[in-house]
Symmetry: C2
Subunit: 494 residues, 2 copies
């Protein structure tokens, strides 16, 4: 009787024309039969000879499948009497519940996630669209000298040493750290030696490392309000307590209430406040440095796009003013080269380098040397500097076109562009009654991507209204037409 | 008087032969003079004309430097009367403390780190040496077909689309997910569609994502004892409570004491227990699956090296037996290709994919498409499968050589090799009185790298003694001689 059921089952499902080899197929079918109780516990398998004849396959094929089942414990041999299905099901209850098959697929997700997981998802800010008018923060990657890159990359791959391909030291590829230290000293007045540079996969990993190595759950962090949504979400995900601190024309502006509790971290973007674009004044910088020194706070300086400065020369970094080792400086190649590269860097006080390198190795393990080596060569041969120079001119021209388009359509007292001295974006402030979220939604339907300024604030209901526009990845002829479309939408809400 | 000091200072430091442009140099010197109080608050700067004459440079150069100082707020113009150093120092106390320059560099590091940071560093396990006899877990990267890789990579870089270079979707490059799903179904009996595959940078990132999205601080995790040191440290770094659960010949073996508290995570390596190498029995697998289903635990299956199986065929994954969506399956290309690639993968229940993708984007942002696209092509064209086949033969031969060398020197009742059916390493168990840490230290001095078995245990003082030896990255002629050196060391401790 049993043999009949099994034969039916096998003849029905066994397919000699299939791409799956016969022995593999047979093994899978038998395994399935055991798991689904077509073959119950203690059932005897047919002899390999009989089964081979029945399925018209070689006996070796059957033996192979049986051996695999034996090796995995689905069946066991009893000496002299054949091969039997083993009893591997924990108990009767389990057996019963086993027969109630798959869990419903529409189970709600949120209760499955941890509390911090739910928060992480709830405050998510990354947008699906990463190209076109006017996605903020994306450089024009079509201008990237990919032929040069490819040529340098080929050199790295010509005869790679084992050290290029195995796990690496967590600080990053040394020639890249040397090239970066040189660049940061010259271009950003960062006060550093190569040993202080730690290569990461970008600003997010840099922040994460700082939070894990220097912060504990419940620690207080000041963040600019508004600020980069990603930083805020990362701090939250690390268990930090966030205190939003307002910014004025001079940058971060803590008031008496803020000063009541000393933060462990002060998170700022002094060279080009994100997203409003002002520069932190020298007075404010020195105030922050002094406060951090006296109270042992860590200042995290996010210097994400100040290589592109169109008015005056690049402003010196906050780190370069720090004599008390309180600044953790971070930057990225996402704006200067391309975001998909996933390379950024931290410049740390020397005493912190070793624990950060260890932390990197433990949390992520290190590697990716071929990409880092290609970039090091790209910098050493001067391509990085010349690419920045080229892009600065290009972006300046695009910025002008956008500014012109704005000026032609709007009274600057009503729709006020701000923060356009540097970077890849500007903010367009709108009157308080404008629903910037609704504008963004309507603009998206009209084919233009922008971000609502209010979404960068800690509390959107208390936020300034406006739009954040990226112009860097928009080719010149598209700027005015795309802005016209956006302007049409804005006007409906003014 | 003041002008005299300033002149002295400038004439002493200004260097027209320097590579730094004159205007930049002058700006830096003046800034330094202000910060170091060579130029005190309210000091008047010399007129640009006078300074230009004195330094024998053009007046424009001086104006440029002055403008920069003005822009950064170091000086301010008073109409009609000249340019003065501004008072940007917070207060008198600060001024005083400012003069006490840099913080001592030998400040102890540990108290600067957070509690979790200190823990992360304290339990660090990553070794600096990643190549040679007998580093565990490292494949022979010299065998990697780098010319093929380079050729495929060039195709990706020939005309990259913006989507290849900008931020990407957090799930990974779709063709890679498709190729992986296919491979995992065939080779590992993983039950999945491409949508369930999420590309990560390796096992560490995969674990981190699971802990953050599904775990909260204080949640309980069962881990095998012994286990992979990296997993244990990551769980700890995420605030999980670790319960080490002993393993026997059938794999994870929870006892009555363990069952008293339901864990949120059960972390196992069922196909090749790390580091001891046994295979989890079917009975134990079903017990775990049933338990996880009834209690809502997540089973994390670390399937790190079972593509390389030398005895019988590859064993089916635990995930393939799961009908209740409780298994999170993870694997890596670090063993099959090369560790520096930094690519791994998670196979998740469908309902978890979206939050994991969002979590990935928020925590790390996504990108790295050029590398993922190269790998997708490498797999689609069959190079991945053939590389595994080639390496399996090679590693099997190296394993035999090592086993022979061991058999020639030691009585298997005293020095007992174990776990050599699969993977890139084996464990050599030693009598309980042997100090395996001392052996490892002595072996390192003799030029052979191994890891002490006791270091994989939660409590080294209760641990089995032994050595973990990687043979995959050791070329054939070196195996016996290197083992002879190691054997000489071992004998001194027997």
């Amino acid at each position: 009787m049993l043999t009949l059921i099994l034969s039916d089952y096998l003849l029905q499902h066994f397919d000699k024309q299939s791409k799956v080899p016969c022995n593999r197929q047979l093994y899978q079918l038998l395994r399935h039969a055991i798991l689904e109780h077509v073959l119950p516990v203690d059932a005897k398998l047919p002899s390999s000879r009989d089964l081979a004849t029945e399925l018209q396959i070689s006996r070796n094929t059957v033996l192979y499948a049986y051996e695999q089942l034996l090796a995995e414990g689905y069946v066991a041999g009893r000496s002299g009497s054949g091969t039997f299905v083993t009893d591997t099901v924990p108990d009767a209850v389990a057996l019963k519940s086993k027969l109630v098959t798959a869990v419903p697929k529409d189970e709600p997700i949120a209760p499955m996630l941890s509390q911090r997981g739910q928060q992480l998802v709830k405050y998510a800010g990354a947008a699906p669209q990463q190209w076109g008018a006017f996605v903020p923060g994306v450089p024009d990657v079509t201008q990237f000298p990919h032929r040069t890159w490819s040529r340098l990359q080929n050199k790295v791959w010509q005869n790679p040493l084992p050290t290029t391909l195995t796990y690496a030291h967590g600080g990053g590829h040394l020639p890249l750290r040397v090239a970066l230290a040189e660049h940061l000293k010259m271009a950003r007045s960062v006060d550093c030696v190569p040993e202080q540079v730690v290569i990461t996969t970008g600003i997010h990993q840099s922040i994460d490392l700082c939070m894990r190595l220097l912060g504990d759950p419940g620690d207080l962090a000041w963040v600019e309000d508004p600020c980069y949504w990603g930083a805020r979400n990362l701090l939250r995900a690390s268990g930090l307590n966030i205190r939003p601190v307002r910014v004025d024309a001079e940058g971060l502006c803590p008031d008496a209430e803020d000063f009541k509790a000393v933060p462990r971290f002060i998170f700022v973007s002094p060279s080009h406040q994100y997203p409003l674009g002002m520069v932190m004044s020298l007075a404010r910088r020195r105030l922050l440095l002094e406060y951090a020194k006296q109270h042992g706070c860590w200042i995290i300086e996010d210097d994400y796009d100040s290589e592109f400065r169109y008015v005056g020369r690049p402003l010196a970094s906050l780190q370069g003013l720090d004599h008390a080792n309180r600044v953790l400086y971070m930057g990225t190649f996402s704006k200067t080269l391309f975001p998909g590269l996933r390379l950024g860097y931290l410049v740390l006080p020397l005493a912190l380098v070793k624990p950060f390198v260890v932390g990197m190795e433990e949390l992520h393990r290190a590697g990716n040397v071929p990409v880092q080596a290609t970039l090091a060569e790209f910098m050493a041969q001067g391509f990085f500097t010349s690419h920045i120079r080229h892009m600065r001119t290009l972006y300046a021209a695009r910025l002008s076109l956008l500014q012109e388009a704005i000026a032609q359509r709007f009274d600057p007292k009503v729709v006020k562009p701000t923060g356009s001295d540097a970077g890849l974006h500007l903010a367009l402030k709108l009157p308080a009654h404008c629903d910037d979220v609704a504008i963004v939604r309507a603009a998206a339907q009209a084919g233009v991507a922008v971000r609502p300024l209010s979404s960068y604030y800690h509390d959107a209901s208390q936020a300034e209204r406006g739009l954040v526009l990226g112009y860097a990845c928009v080719q010149e002829p598209h700027i005015a037409p795309a802005f016209d479309v956006l302007a049409g939408v804005i006007e409906r809400y003014l």
